[in-house]
Symmetry: D2
Subunit: 335 residues, 4 copies
């Protein structure tokens, strides 16, 4: 950690501050004097140093971390890729491409079972489906709730596909016991109480990037889960908010290689939410695979115009079938 002090700070104040840092934290303090400013460098384990405390000092002009603030999610301390086993056949992070597919919302037994069978045939390896839906409007369909989870389990029984579904509050964790991957939505990426509770389970967690979260904040949210003892975190890039409004969000494709460099956790891409338009799913999914993603999560609905949510970004099973074929071919070609 590097601390730039304000010009003309009295030497005795600098000394006092440096001494205090050494006492409060397990660090050594180096100092050098520039023409206009003095700079202090902290050496040691700076994870525990509260950067806001430093920044609040009257004599401090700016602070810069040299080490990343996350530890368990950091590739520097865990060089090999984390591989998360989801079922007997499905692992993520091992170099394979896992495709999660299914409707935005679970709507009925017929719907979810039919979609599950079709996407499995096309090559999907996990079934996604929303039971609890975060909706911007209180007047919009909010999901089938626990009944939706039951229908997902039924579809799993029929097809063998492990299931992925979104959780919205800590009180529901028990209800998700039998769900294979628990999704934390973009709007809850910094719902720290939820993250802490999920850290006490051993469930694979699909952690979506917040609407305007930096990569560092996203990894810090992963750190929240891991700090509780649960290392099974799958990161999911789903587009960020920018000034461009042709698409609902802007897919940050660079996040894939960056996250793989900074962290050992697997990363998947959601081209459906990133664009909000079904015709963009194919090129964005192709780009994600070419950029090194470990998986994809794609919305598929048997009847998009009648989908109860997010229809505009859903593919039909037939469209998905063609895209999945291309994705598998691309992945094979990259090896």
């Amino acid at each position: 950690m590097i601390i730039v002090l304000k010009p003309s700070t009295p030497p005795e104040q600098i000394q006092l501050f440096a001494d205090k840092l050494c006492n409060d934290y397990e660090v050594k303090v180096n100092r050098w004097d520039g023409v206009h400013s003095t700079v202090l460098g902290l050496i040691g384990d700076t994870h525990t140093v509260d950067i806001e405390y430093i920044d609040a000092q009257d004599i401090v002009e700016s602070v810069k971390r040299v080490q990343e603030p996350y530890k368990k999610a950091n590739r520097k301390f865990h060089p090999e890729n984390t591989v998360i086993k989801i079922s007997d056949n499905v692992s993520i992070g091992d170099g394979s491409l896992q495709i999660m597919a299914g409707p935005c919302s679970v709507e009925s037994e017929d719907q979810i079972v039919e979609i599950a069978k079709k996407v499995k045939n096309s090559g999907a390896t996990l079934l996604r489906g929303g039971a609890f839906k975060p909706r911007t409007s209180p007047y919009a369909f909010q999901g089938l709730k626990s009944e939706g989870l039951d229908l997902l389990k039924l579809a799993r029984k029929e097809t063998g596909l492990p299931i992925v579904s979104e959780i919205m509050r800590t009180e529901h964790i028990d209800m998700f016991e039998n769900v294979d991957v628990i999704q934390v939505g973009a709007r809850n990426m910094q719902n720290f109480d939820l993250l802490k509770e999920l850290g006490k389970t051993q469930k694979p967690i699909l952690l979506k990037r917040g609407l305007s979260a930096t990569i560092e904040e996203w990894l810090m949210s992963a750190e929240y889960i891991m700090a509780g003892g649960n290392d099974n975190v799958i990161l999911c890039e789903r587009g960020i908010r920018t000034y461009e409004n042709y698409t609902r969000n802007t897919l940050d494709i660079s996040a894939v290689p960056i996250v793989k460099k900074l962290s050992h956790l697997p990363v998947v891409v959601d081209p459906s939410h990133a664009s909000g338009k079904s015709w963009l799913v194919e090129p964005l999914a192709m780009a994600a695979v070419a950029a090194g993603a470990d998986g994809l999560i794609i919305e598929v609905h048997n009847d998009p115009p009648h989908a109860l949510s997010d229809g505009a970004q859903s593919l039909t099973p037939e469209q998905f079938d063609k895209i999945a074929e291309k994705l598998v071919a691309l992945k094979a070609c990259l090896k």
Copy 2:
């Protein structure tokens, strides 16, 4: 609601779609044919129309709302300002300027009582203080929790100032029964389950704008609370995320007059979080008052360098005293 159809949609499909809209919703459908596209106009109560359903239709190129999607928060249906009574002496939204002041985190009885007394003397009318703290890092101080709330109540007893504190999960609502204003933080603005539960209470809710929430999304979150039956929502602009990184966030000063035009709810400004720098609090607070804000929420700490969180943006009581004087003078001059 205006629906632009794709070029060369067959007339019979247009007819079918228009008929379906009339059946499904209480609307009439007008149609006109341009050179390249056909446009449908929906007349009636379009609040219940699911814009995503429309957008998902194969034949639809784009959709545009004419009416806002929020109803209870909408000034069109409620022209007079909402005035929220917080205590016998304190109301917000009635043309007065209410100043909420206090530390980011409650730290001890001495700390909170001392600050409360000082800010009251300087003209603050509410006491703010965090008991549950949302922190980006799992390794940072997370607040005194219920003990913090008890200390706030103690400070209220000593000074008479009503208290404002942030809630982080639905299970804590009972614990906040005796708190005068419950704050929903920026990171929870779209924690819809929390909003719904708060909608069942009658507590004044201070709803902070999300880090990258549009004004419409913010008002939709207010609508969530109001749809549950609680009309006591105070909006709080606290800076948005932009590319500019000199400040932690960028204060969107325009949000003040815009929200007052679109909605009847009171709006306050948080210059401390918007800037993250204590020397910017004064000019931003002055700007907020000049732009028409109903109140301010300002961080004050008796010892900012030793504050357990957000010290860099905290004022000392002495600094606050001078600023409060200027703010009161400015407000008087604007009348």
Copy 3:
């Protein structure tokens, strides 16, 4: 064009306004009355209608275009892909992948000729190099200017590679007569006077997207060049400005398929400037090809640490060689 009028506009004012629109432009006006607002729809050639004039009317609440504001760049009026012939062997937009490679700045004869030979061997089909450099600091190296152009021509003579270089002012157009592709940099994307003058030439123009330009604004800048009579515009996505600051810019990979849908012009991607980091060039270039880009423009320097500008994002010729091989293999696999 759809015009939503303010609630309770008097009918006679609406009539007057509608009549005026019919007189001023070659359009017909349709009207329908909703519960809260009246809506006017303009039918005809609305390209010439000044949307700001409409928006300025007291009685107007909002305006929405149905047709795009660009005409010559619009795929609706020109369905086939534009193919731009740059030299006997090099065309762009015909389904092939064109790779432009070379240093950020031309520095010396030895440098540019050596790099040109190497990138040609690796598969590059055009040579890029800056002679006039837009630099944020007035104290930074600003390029070799006309001497740099001469050195580029020398390297072309040695290798046969057509050359690409950036122009910075209208007075230099004559100097670029013998340059094969003239680049307009991101900072000049809305230097309308420069665009107009380039529209009077028949040179292929590589039009970089502005730092925070929307896709529509970018296509409008292409329209400026085309309106002058020059249809040879190549669009170049080079990253946009967002809140994320791990990378210098955020590559908007979605722009590739979107621009190809909205326009018939070819589009290339600049992964070097989009990321600012050489280790990100490979995954971003791969993603660009998978998303359908017609070409790439990549910085290669024989000695990146001693490059006079933008060294951090430059590859060595050896690194470029490996990446070019992968890109060509990927392109072959996609066919």
Copy 4:
């Protein structure tokens, strides 16, 4: 300047690099070794150090400036406010409030003279008016050009108000010889060739902030002008591009106090372009004055619905009159 090296860089390479820095620049290099990384600190005049050169080194992980990269615009080296004398009666930066008002485009003698007289009566101290107009569409009105400048001079003769108008290309500098303040528009903020040429004059330059320029980039553009010998730069905040699209741009009110802290140059605010809506001009102008702006630039048109550009954000002279009165009263109250 602080340079963080990559973990496990060999000591001899560090030594070589440090020696090279000392040779190449007038700096001393300090070094300290952390647990994971080594850090170098450069002491001396680092303005001339090319940060991109440093960043390009293989062994460098990141670089951070301690000193700002601008010198002439920097308050550290020029503590007193710069006061720019525009005419016998009008100076900017001396603590007064200067109001520039007038139409977006000059349209006719009658128009500009009438507006000039009215805004002068209301308290405006400069007349603004566009002769050359940067328009997004090539099909929109582009200004009266040199005739527009002549009409402005005529209005100056009638009223005594100094005039402000926008330049769009270097070849026009002679034409602007008799214009009192030359405006550089947001889209040309990084048209470095134009900035350099303006640096050779002694004209007051109104430098608008670019659509997505950081404060540092904006000050670097001021530095371009000043590096050429022209210290008469007036900064103009006119809103930045964000994800929020209710307004055309988002006024960054914090920029006012920040720029005044970092630089000695005067700063004015353009509430008309920042919002794009005439009803927002008043609250934003009030906020700007309260935040410490040295002036305002406001669009006023005698007939906004018939304005040839930007009518939606123009005030009528009557509206302007009321607002100017409030602004003057507010300024008086702040003293």
